[in-house]
């Protein structure tokens, strides 16, 4: 590789400057990482790198004379923020423009460069500096799908000396269009799901439980109302027991297995069967000195009572344990013991 004396000088200056570039690169990376976390933006990744000596030498060889000084080369430090959602690209861009001074004349929004009928590389490129002044650095912002497209396009499109015929370029464009559509759909889906969760939370809070379909989201919102707390506390009072926190989400599968369709069905179980569930727990615990219980104790007893009240037998109670604890023949013995207790409190199977 042959470089002019001017380019040789620039290259040497770059080599001398590397320690400072590494420092700046790390500073910008950490600032971005912390700020995105604080803003609650989940990212696919933030990549960062200092330009390699070889790579810069190549660039100088190709177009070195247009650079008067090293600060004219804006990608000595490069960072790439990869978002999951296309909506987040603009959000991240807004944050970046608050964090740093942007050189708007050299920054590019590649998304705006396409005509309405063309598809291809979509990414935001911002040339930035620290507010207090620094060597310029480049921040690229794109979605994970844009990133994938771009990486593959780079890998295939620029390999070798053979220029790709137009039909292959067109295939890349078609894929870019498809991914743009997919990006929009992911964003739309996220908005729809957020809206759905909000509606469910409102319905749960307003008490219209029979209007709420039983699902992972709705059951999670329902649990925030602590519907089993009163029963748990009654049971805990038997032995003045401490209640140990436990997730109740695994019970969702049991409730679905019972054929419950709405949160109203779950609430009806709580309203109608809590007394019997308490009696059942009492009959087991009163003869022990167990003074530590899991928060799942109330719902577990409710489920057993529900199964037996609805004509279920050993297999149905075993199903509860199999669902919660994993299939195991010992669960049949637990089911038998539960049924004995159930009969002992005067309940008919």
């Amino acid at each position: 590789m042959r470089l002019s004396p001017h380019c040789e000088a620039l290259l040497q200056e770059f080599i001398d400057l590397r320690p400072q570039l590494i420092q700046l690169d790390n500073k910008v990376f950490e600032l971005l990482q912390t700020t995105m976390q604080q803003q609650g933006i989940e990212l696919n990744s933030i990549e960062h790198r200092i330009k390699g000596v070889e790579s810069l030498a190549g660039k100088l060889e190709r177009k070195g004379e247009k650079y008067h000084s090293l600060s004219d080369i804006t990608d000595l430090i490069g960072l790439r923020i990869v978002t999951f959602y296309t909506d987040d690209v603009d959000k991240v861009a807004a944050i970046v423009s608050q964090l740093f001074d942007i050189d708007w004349s050299n920054s590019v929004d590649k998304r705006k460069l396409h005509d309405f009928n063309s598809f291809g590389y979509n990414s935001l490129h911002y040339i930035c500096q620290l507010h207090e002044g620094s060597i310029p650095f480049e921040i690229q912002i794109r979605t994970a799908l844009q990133h994938t497209w771009s990486a593959i396009e780079h890998d295939i499109g620029y390999k070798g000396a053979v220029k790709l015929p137009p039909q292959y370029r067109r295939q890349f464009s078609r894929l870019a269009g498809m991914l743009e559509l997919a990006d929009d759909e992911f964003s739309r889906l996220r908005t729809t799901m957020t809206e759905y969760r909000r509606q469910i939370q409102t319905l749960v809070k307003s008490g219209n439980l029979s209007d709420v379909t039983l699902s992972t989201d709705s059951f999670r919102s329902y649990l925030e109302l602590h519907p089993f707390e009163r029963l748990n506390q009654r049971i805990a009072a038997v032995n003045q027991a401490e209640l140990f926190p436990a997730s109740l989400m695994p019970f969702l599968r049991v409730l679905e297995h019972f054929g419950m369709e709405s949160l109203g069905d779950v609430q009806a179980m709580v309203d109608d069967l809590s007394d019997t569930a308490y009696q059942l727990a009492l009959s087991q615990l009163a003869v022990t000195d167990l003074d530590i219980l899991s928060e799942s104790v109330g719902l577990q007893n409710l489920c057993v009572v529900y199964a037996l009240k609805h004509g279920g037998g050993r297999d149905d109670v075993k199903m509860i344990y199999d669902t919660l604890y994993g299939a195991n023949e010992s669960n049949a013995i637990l089911a038998d013991a539960m049924i004995r207790q159930y009969k002992a409190i005067g309940q008919k199977q």
């Binding site: 027991a241 140990f244 436990a246 695994p250 087991q284 615990l285 022990t288 000195d289 167990l290 003074d291 530590i292 219980l293 899991s294 928060e295 799942s296 104790v297 577990q300 344990y321 919660l324 604890y325 195991n328 010992s330 013995i333 637990l334 013991a337």
Partner: protein, 100 residues
């Protein structure tokens, strides 16, 4: 109440023998100390010869589970008899542990 600690095929195994009641729990807690150094190891609590477990015993097991989980270690309860398993079911703790 007797406990024995062994390392078996990269697992930390503790054998319990007798009644794990309130009186025994302080001594057992001390003997369980090596289990807390479990990074990179799963823990097996062998209950083949465990005859009884009280709330104090449950607390020891739960305390160990709480310490082991963040380290990525599993806590397995091995060969627990049906009466003891029923205690775990009755209290709702059965789904916190893995039974083998």
């Amino acid at each position: 109440m007797k406990t024995t600690f062994k390392e078996e095929e990269k697992n930390f195994v503790m054998y319990f023998e007798g009644r794990l009641d309130t009186a025994a729990s302080a001594e057992v807690e001390k003997s369980m100390a090596p289990l807390y150094e479990c990074s990179g190891h799963d823990i097996v609590l062998d209950c083949t010869a465990l005859e009884y477990i009280s709330s104090s015993g449950l607390r020891l097991f739960l305390g160990l589970l709480k310490a082991a989980k963040p380290k990525g270690s599993h806590v397995y309860l091995r060969n627990m008899n049906e009466d003891l398993r029923q205690v775990f079911a009755m209290t709702g703790f059965i789904n916190l542990f893995e039974f083998i």
